[in-house]
Structure formats: structure tokens, C-alpha cells
Symmetry: D2
Subunit: 361 residues, 4 copies
């Protein structure tokens, strides 16, 4: 193929940036004096087995209201290698400028992609992805640790590697002891792992949730239906890559996957309390009406517990995102006060367990 003259190129440039970008902020409260960043630490592009150019990942993040993404190409699985034979950190380089333009924090990462055990892990905050490419997986983790990476085990319940049960292997104990595991994906896409949540709480690991997206994001997530990608809420002192690293190390995360919000009670309870406000209370003969406003994009699924027989109210109730509700509680004559009890069943403070609540009036 011959070289085409430069003059040709100068006037033939397509305006590939002509597409309008609409950013939709994710509305969740900041809590405990921290800022709540929205992060996705597990993303693929054509540089491993993903199907889009790296800059597309930045555009997607901008539109979806994310603060931070990590590109984490497989080190060991690169089906497009015949056509794209770049080094392991290349997708990060390609996306860097777009990330700066869109004010998206971009993290350099890699996916260590091994059979079970130890299965797949992501190492993020890398300075040199190529140093992780080794036949021996122990060497890969060591190289990541040497770079002070934050390392987490991906999708422990993936049926290709744990077809029936989600087990902890001795190799994971080894990684943990060696300082080569700081977190686990408790949700990968729409796959929630209660075992992973339990392990995080028992072993002092950070709960992580990611999209693990390969397709153009709209192919997997139907935004018109109000769907969102799985992500990690990270409670930072400052909005920076260093701020995220500090928060991850100190376990200040929650995971948002479908309607589920997964995390420690000390974070989930204020998320509820600062999202849902009782804006009006109207006492009438025989009942009281609570006007409730959900200021956030989160959903809250309520389920009655420990019922006071004197009161009549919902058995289950869904508080939708960004909505106003009228919740009525009936009480017997002469009684204008009481306490209703319920779990918020989709705020998981432990493996499969909702957040217990009560409300006095």
C-alpha cells in the first residue's frame, strides 16, 4: 500500500466527536463527611476481548455520570491479537486524553486471568502492566504487589470456574496472606455473591462491584428502562485517583448492582437516612399520612417486621427513585403514636440480609 499525501488527509478528517454527549449525574448522598464517587474498576476494550475502542469507555462513563473507571484488559486472553498486538497498558494510553477532556479519572489496570484457583483477579493503580505478564500466576501477583497495586478477586461465583458452589480455595488464603488480595467483587454485572460479601466482612476485605463490560454498554444495559451498570460507590476525602486508592484500602465502599446496595451498615444506614425524607406528617382520625420524598436514584424495598398488632400498614412497600410517596398507617382510636418496623430488604448489610429499621411517630 502506498503512502497517501498529507494534503489528502488534512481535509478528509471526519468530525467523529460531533455526537452530543449528555451527562446524567447519579444522585446519591455524600455521607460521613466523604464524597461519594461512582467507579467501575473492571472494563474491557478491543485491546483484549472487548468490542469497543478505549475512548468509547470514557464517553460511556461521562454520559452515565461516573467519576472513575479502570481499563483492565486480560493479560492472558487477547483474541484480537492477530490484528491488535499492542503492549498491555496500551488501552490506557489511548483513552488518556479523552479522560482528561471529560474529567473522568482513569486508572491503569490489568486482569490476571487464570484457571481456578485462583481464577481471575484485577490489579489496579499499576504503573507497568507488562511486568505482570508471567507464566506463573504467583509471579504476576508479586509483580502487581511490587507496584503497590490494589488487587481484588473477580466474580468468585462465575459458573465457568465454580459451576455449583462458590468456594474459597487455599490459593486465596495464600494470596491473602501474601498481601495480594485487598478486595473481592461482591457483584459482577448482575451476579451478586453472598459468599463474597461474607468473606469481605470476615477477612477485612473491600467490597467491589463492577460492570465487567465487553460490549458497547448500551447493548447490555437498557438505560431507557432505568437500568444502570454495576458500580462501586467509593467514599473519598478528595476526588482524585489517590483519594480513591486511600478509600479502597480503608474499605469505604458500597456496591450498587440492580436494585441492590451492598455494604456495611455504617454506610448503608446513612445512605437511607439521607436519601429518604419524611416531608409531611398529617394526623387524621384513625390514621396518619406520611409524605415521603426519595431524593436519590436509589430504590428502597421495605418489608414489615415485628408487627405491632394495633397498627395497620404495608406488608411490603417500594420507594422508587426520585419519587414522592404517601404512606398511610392506621391506628386504633385514642392512639396517635406508635412504631413501625421493617427491613429494607435490598440494602444488604450482610450476606442476603436487609437493613433493619424502625420509625416512631
Amino acid at each position: 500500500m502506498k503512502k497517501i499525501l498529507l494534503s489528502v488527509l488534512l481535509t478528509a478528517i471526519w468530525l467523529t466527536c460531533a455526537t452530543a454527549q449528555v451527562r446524567k449525574e447519579i444522585v446519591v448522598p455524600n455521607i460521613g463527611g466523604y464524597q461519594t464517587l461512582k467507579c467501575d474498576f473492571h472494563i474491557h476494550t478491543v485491546f483484549s476481548d472487548g468490542l469497543v475502542w478505549p475512548t468509547v469507555r470514557v464517553d460511556e462513563a461521562y454520559r452515565e455520570g461516573l467519576d472513575c473507571i479502570a481499563l483492565t484488559e486480560h493479560l492472558e486472553y487477547r483474541p484480537h491479537q492477530k490484528d491488535i498486538n499492542a503492549h498491555h497498558g496500551r488501552s490506557y494510553e489511548v483513552a488518556k486524553k479523552a479522560a482528561e477532556t471529560n474529567d473522568i479519572l482513569l486508572i491503569r489496570g490489568s486482569e490476571i486471568t487464570r484457571p481456578m484457583a485462583p481464577g481471575h483477579s484485577n490489579a489496579i493503580f499499576l504503573s507497568d502492566c507488562n511486568a505482570l505478564a508471567n507464566d506463573d500466576w504467583r509471579e504476576s501477583f508479586k509483580a502487581a504487589k511490587a507496584q503497590k497495586a490494589f488487587i481484588f478477586w473477580n466474580h468468585p461465583g462465575w459458573d465457568r470456574q465454580q459451576p455449583d458452589t462458590t468456594l474459597w480455595w487455599k490459593e486465596h488464603t495464600e494470596l491473602l496472606n501474601e498481601g495480594c488480595m485487598q478486595g473481592i467483587e461482591v457483584a459482577n454485572g448482575l451476579m451478586y455473591s453472598p459468599e463474597a460479601q461474607r468473606w469481605c466482612m470476615e477477612k477485612g476485605l473491600t467490597m467491589i462491584g463492577n460492570s465487567d463490560i465487553h460490549q458497547p454498554i448500551q447493548t447490555d444495559i437498557d438505560f431507557a428502562k432505568g437500568e444502570h451498570r454495576t458500580m462501586t460507590f467509593v467514599l473519598v476525602k478528595e476526588r482524585s485517583i489517590e483519594g480513591i486508592r486511600e478509600a479502597l484500602i480503608n474499605h469505604r465502599t458500597m456496591v450498587w448492582a440492580g436494585n441492590l446496595l451492598i455494604g456495611e451498615e455504617r454506610y448503608l444506614r446513612p445512605m437511607l437516612e439521607q436519601s429518604v425524607e419524611v416531608v409531611k406528617v398529617e394526623r387524621k382520625t384513625g390514621y396518619v399520612d406520611f409524605t415521603v420524598q426519595n431524593h436519590s436514584d436509589l430504590t428502597f424495598e421495605l418489608k414489615k417486621t415485628e408487627h405491632d398488632k394495633a397498627l395497620e400498614y404495608f406488608r411490603t412497600y417500594t420507594i422508587k427513585p426520585q419519587s414522592r410517596h404517601n404512606i398511610r398507617v392506621y391506628y386504633p382510636k385514642g392512639t396517635e403514636h406508635g412504631k413501625i418496623n421493617f427491613d429494607v430488604t435490598n440494602l444488604l448489610v450482610a450476606a442476603g440480609e436487609g437493613l433493619p429499621c424502625s420509625y416512631e411517630f
Copy 2:
């Protein structure tokens, strides 16, 4: 980077095909004994300046109900060349298997990407894209013609090359005379060119409409809002690449862009007549009610012309896709018959001119 053992790869394969594919057929009638195929002859991937892997283009075509696509990478503009340095027909090869699996007809093409004149042209039905890579654009067209390509001028009204007016240059006369131009894009994305339609009708060229998509399709087209990509309806004797070529040579096309349907009256009129059915006529004192069913995905915008003063009916009326309407015409006492006249303003039978219609009852 070291070679990773095969055994690693075998169990680490991701099910990237796990995404559900929902095909939404495009409902338009077959007319004149031909089958109406839905085709897009202008598409980019990461192999030139597009942003997705070639197989994504096949998945998109399947979901959107297309029959045929052509991948038409720029010969002269390849901004990803540092990372992807394949030959010019490579994206076709990469997408071929997916096309077969999904029963999408896949055409090998190239975009000859030059300054004005002659600007950009697509050559499709190529056997060897690389033969078109030449410094001299005349050589590129010759090479395409030698392969019996069907060649069309792209987006003649593109502001980067014709900033104020859409002109025909002497180079286009030359191409036409040399047998190197068989069609013109009368619509490229949402840009309709009345000049292009006029030229097609005057010079016996085929009207073409394409998406010219670079992004993941959902980034540019909002399917939840009922939008569709711009495409060419091709009236074929048989559903095959050869059938499409025969139809293109014989000008049996219409172009669907937004609400517009652009083409010759001999095709547009039957498209209307076989899409819209009067399913019930109810005569009452003083008026008649027509129940009208639109069986197609097309919209029809009606505008009154040559009004019979005795009748009262719509000044404008929109018949939406796949819908049932009740249209009422008032007439004076004693008169139960009449003729209403209207243009279908979005069925363009000439540059900017709607399809004239009348209906007697």
C-alpha cells in the same frame, strides 16, 4: 512478554456471546413482485476511524432488522493505524463468520476518501480492497471499476467539503462518463440532499441512503424513541448479494431517513398504498368516518391540497407507524360523496416534493 501456556487459555474463555439478541423486524411492504431488503452500505469499524469491532456491526444489523450491510473503511484515513495495521479488507474478514451465523448479507467495500472534488465515494462488491489504495484518486476509481464495483458519491452536501452550497463538479462528470459513479447518497445519517435526489433523477443514478456510522449505533440512534438508522430499501428478485447488486444497478431503491422516504413515484406510491388500509367506512348524517390502519413502520404526513370547499377535513394529519386512526370528513347535507386531496409531504418523489394523492368516497 512471555508466552502463556495453552492450558491457561482453555478454561479462561469468556462467554462474550452471552448477550441476548433481540431482532426487531422492520415492517414495510414488498412491492411490485420484489422483496424489500433493508440495507446500509456505509459503515466504519476500528479498522478505519470507527469505534467498534467489526462483529458489533453484524450484531447491530441483526437487532435492527437489517438484511445487508457493507463495511466501508476509509482507504486514506486510518487514525488507529499505530495499533491496527491490517490490510484494507480485514474488517470484512473479521465479521464474516458472525454475518453467516446471523444471516446478514455482508458486502466488502471501501471508502475512497478524497478532498473535493471528487470528495468521498464508496465502492462496494469489491473482491480486493487493497487494489484501490493509490495516491491518484483516478487510479482508485479505475481499480474499483475493474472489480465491477458499484460506486456512489457520499454525502455531497457535507459542510466540510461544500460549506455553503451543494455543487456538482467537473470531476463528477468525469466519473460519471467513465462509468465510475452509479449512485449518490441522497441521505447520509439525517442529512438529506435535495440536489442529490435531483441529480439521481436527471442522470439515471441510484438513490442511496446510509448511516455512515462510526460510534456504537445506540450512541447515535435512540431506539427507545423509535428512531432508526438511515438505510436503503432495495427491491430485489432474490435475497442475496447478487440480488442486491442487480437491484442497485437497475435503480430499484428507496431511502429511509428519519420520517422521510425518498425515491421514485413508481415505488413510493405502492409503498403508501400497501401500508395504509381503509378498514372501515361509516357514513353518518353530515360526515363520514374512515378507520385507517397503517400496517407498516413508516410514518405518513398528510397536507391538504386543492380543497373542495364543500368538504371539511384535516389541514394536516400524521399517520403514525403501526397505528389505527379515525379520520372524519364533513360534507354538506345531501352530499355523501366527494374527493379529498392531499400531499404526503414526507414521501419525496422529487427534490423536496411530496407525493400527490386523492381519495374518492
Copy 3:
């Protein structure tokens, strides 16, 4: 207020029927030689405590692809009575012509609206709603029975009447013994009652599911998100009101509520088998790929059971409506055959129990 001259009215008529109506058929298979009709037997209008004019209910049914609706105004609760003081069957009369025009089967019904027990019940196929208006609820049921009504208990788990537990009261036994209860709502809106399903199966009652809609339907159901109203699938010998009555008496129903399909195994299994087709089987070394097409609007949620350790396949899998999926099963070398087992967890063949399935290859 004075009488306005007729001549004024004649020319002032608004075209309130000008709105386009788009019918979206519900695609589910016919099974066992029966036709599957889509029915909603619990609907309110402004004539009790609903918020729309009766004809709106017909338009909604047409657009949503329903075959049959029953208008079932509360006999005892009519908050708009100050302004609308019509007799109890009036909403049926108002909607009748629109139903004929739209080919919607319209059933005359009433809701007997009492405190627990017996709570609320619908009587449908009434000839005279007014005969049911009695202080004594037993008289109301008797009057309904005298008209050969089909009577079913509404929303037995409604928190206003059964705040904690869903119980069967002695009054229900009395109604059952008197021939005044032929069915129960196992789903009312999105409230599924496993107790109701159990009672239907134990006592030979018909399972019913309804919207119980009061608002304009789009206020409660977000069609853009793919939601649908809760309805009853009725397996009829002929599409007529008499055909529906015969099917209801003979328990040939299923209930579709959210993703749930609730009913007897003899109906649910063929619904699955005729909705989901394995269109291609590709055996490769180490695995087999099944291309699966879901021809229906139903969702199927699969969950692995009784696992053959030699095979690797999904732990859970969702087959979306109208979609094509590629499902891969890995097997050990030398073994090209096997059996996978799973429950379809959203096809409820008993209270809370999915449909057990196995598939040999």
C-alpha cells in the same frame, strides 16, 4: 343555567377520537388446542373510585393487546357519588360501543366491597349489577349466584384487611360451600399470594390475576420499560364471553404478573415448550452451543438443579422475551452427551415453586 341552542353544538364537536391507537399484541402460544386469551377482570372507572372515563379502559385494552376486560365498580364505595350518581351497571353501558368498535370483549361485573371477612370479591358475567346492592353481604353473594356469576375473592393478602398473614376465614368456607366462590386472585397488581395459589390447587378454584387499575394505566405501568399489567391467560375453545366463562369454570387459566407465570404444570410446561425453541446445536471439542430462540413475550428464569459434575453450564440464566441466546455447555473429553437440569423459577406450578426441567443432548 340556560339551554344552549342545538345549532351551537353541531359545529362545536371536538374530534376526541383523533388520537392514534397502536395495538401491541401480546405474543404467547396457544396450547392444548385452546386459544390463549388475555383478560383483566378487575378494573375501576370514575363510576366508582377509578380516575378515568369507562371508554378509556377499552382504549387501554386495545393498545395493550387484551382480548377481554370486566368493569367491576365497587358497589359500596363510590367517592364520586356527589357528582356521578348512576346505577351500578352504568360504566358497562358507557363503554359498550367502544368495546364493539375495538373488538374488545366487555364483561359486566361488580366488586362486592366488604370488611374482612369476607373482604372484597368480584362477581362477573352479571346481568343486573344493582341486584347485588345489599346491606347484608350474604345477600349480595346470593344475588350474584342467582345470576350465574363467576365469583372470585380479590387480593386475599391485602395489608388493609390482612395486615400480617394471609388467612382463610370461616366466611370463605361458607362462600365456597354455598357455591359463591369459584376463584381467587393469586395476583392483584404486583402482589402475588402463594397462599391463594395453594388454596386454588387444594380446593379446585380457578387462579385469577388482574390489574385492579384505578389510575390511567400508564401512570401505574411503565410500558417504555417493558412492563405489562397483571392479567389472566384464559384457554378458550372460542373467543367469546361465553367461551371465557366456560374456560374459567373449568380452571383453564394462568396468571401473568411481572415476570411470574402462575398456574398448573399441565399449562405452564407447554407454555415453556412452545415459547422456547432450540434452533441450532453446534458440537465442538469440549463443548456444545445451543442457539435458543424465545418466540414469546414471556421471560424464563433458569436455575441449575441436580448437577451432573461432569458438565459445566450456567448456575442461573435468564431467557429474555423475543430473544435469541447462545447457551454453552462444557463436557469432558470423550463425552458428547449429557443431561442438564434446571428449574424455571418464575413459572410457579405451586406456591413459590418453579417448574422442574431437564434437557438431554
Copy 4:
């Protein structure tokens, strides 16, 4: 029909207010020191020929982000009169409490519904609707004027009354001279009337735009597609009914219908300038990139005018709502400054005329 005991009613109350309400604010700037209220002054309910209960209109207004609605039942056309025979201001009374709860300003109005001329007019800010019910239309207008009503002519181009051309009749001159016409609907639903805009500008009348909704709003407006009802932006000194009246009398309105924004240049220009911000300017060799942010829910359609031949930029360009765009202008070597000219074709400052703009850099 017998009287049902009160005890029955007390426990049978349905929670018809249980539906979640999500308010979506309409984002448009406040300009000139005024607050921009979103108002719809032409709405029907079951109390004339509308199809919903009056409270539904308040719920709709809340969800859609409106500030104020007027219920304007036809005085002379009441097809539900057999069932609903209330006085003319009754729908206002029925909706009043809901309006207060939802902080929607509710205006009492009536539609004087006559053949042409003078056709249909709305009188709003009435204290007694019934006083307008007269055989003689002149008496109706007089009665409205006596109540200090604001009166506007509805849909002057309605095909039922002006089948071919939109004319001003001598009766309108009479109304104008008598102080019985203060405004005209320049848009009614999606019907824009350039004649009405011209008349408003010539005769010093207020431009009004309304939905004239009869159906449940979602039946006519597809919110999932980003559609909105036609409405009037009213520039008020204070958010109150009195504030709206003052603004209407002083012509401080714009009309938002589809993509069109119709009004006087003194209001439209600041709407553009305060909606669209140039957030970044990057000068490169040969071109300059403008990053443009549209902070509002308005769309702006740009079309080049008076072109400087030395510059190359868009021929047409659409700035979508709430979006960020990159607009590139090419200039010749050595020239880094220039002026681009364009009309905003959907901001109508006169009948069919866009807002002329230029931008220097």
C-alpha cells in the same frame, strides 16, 4: 339501592394515592429578573368532554414539572352530562385540594365554545363560571369581562372551523375593541399558527400555548421519547396566581410546542444566551474547537447565514437538550479570528422566522 352502613365504608377505603409521583422539573432559565413559570391554560376533564377525573390533571402537572394549570371545561359541549350534571366550575372544586397538596397553582376557567366566528375562547381567572352560560356569545364574553377574566382565542387555525386558511373575522375585531380578547393560542397541542403569532405582535396580544388535553396525558404525549406537552412560559414577578395574571396582561410569555419556542425576541434571545454556554475554546492550527454546554431542556436548531467564505463550519447543527457539544470552525492559515452567523430556526421571533445570531471569536 339501599344505603350501605358507614362501618362498611370505613374499612373499605382504597389507597388510591398509593402511586409514586416522580416530579421532573423543566429546566429553563429565569430571565430579566423574572421567574419562568410553566403553565397550561387549556385542559379538560370528565366534567366536559375530557376523559379523566380532575385530580388526575393535578397529578400530571406535578409529574411534568408544571407550576400552574387552568381547568377550562366547555360551557356548551358536555357529552357526559347524562351522568355528570354538575355546575360549570365544579371540576375546579374537585381538584382544589390536590392542587394545594402538590403546590400546583390552579386557575378557574371556562371554554366559550362557539361556531366560527368567534370560535372557541378560554376565559381564565373566573370567579363564577356559571355566569358565562348564555345563548348569546356576546353575553358570555361580557360576563367574563365583568369578572376581569383574561380571555384568549383558542386554536384559530383549527380545521373544523377554518378548513383552509386561518382568517381574522370581524367578530374578533369586535371582541378586541370590547376588551374581550387579551391573547391568542399561537400553539394548541402541536398545531402552531404563524398567523396567530403575527396578530399577537401587530395587535399587542399575549402569545399563549396550551395542551388542550382531553385524554390521559400519556396517551397523547410520549414522555419516554422526550416529548412534552405544549405550554406557556410565563415570566412572573412572583409565583402566584396574581403574579401570572400580571405577567399575562403585560405579554411576558413564550410558547413551547415541540421543538419550537415562540415569542418576542427580547425574551427568546436571553433564553438562548442563558441556556447555552461556551465552556471551552481550543485554538489549533487551522481550526478552533468550541465546547458548548446546553444547560436547559430546550433544543436549538442552528442554520448558517451570511457565510464568511474564509471559514468552514456547519450548514445546520442541532444543540440537544442538557448536552455538551464540540463545534469546530476551520479558518485559513494566519487567521485565528472571525465571526460565524446563523439563525436559530426553531426560536420563532416572528411568524415562521428564526432568531438571527452571530458569534465572534
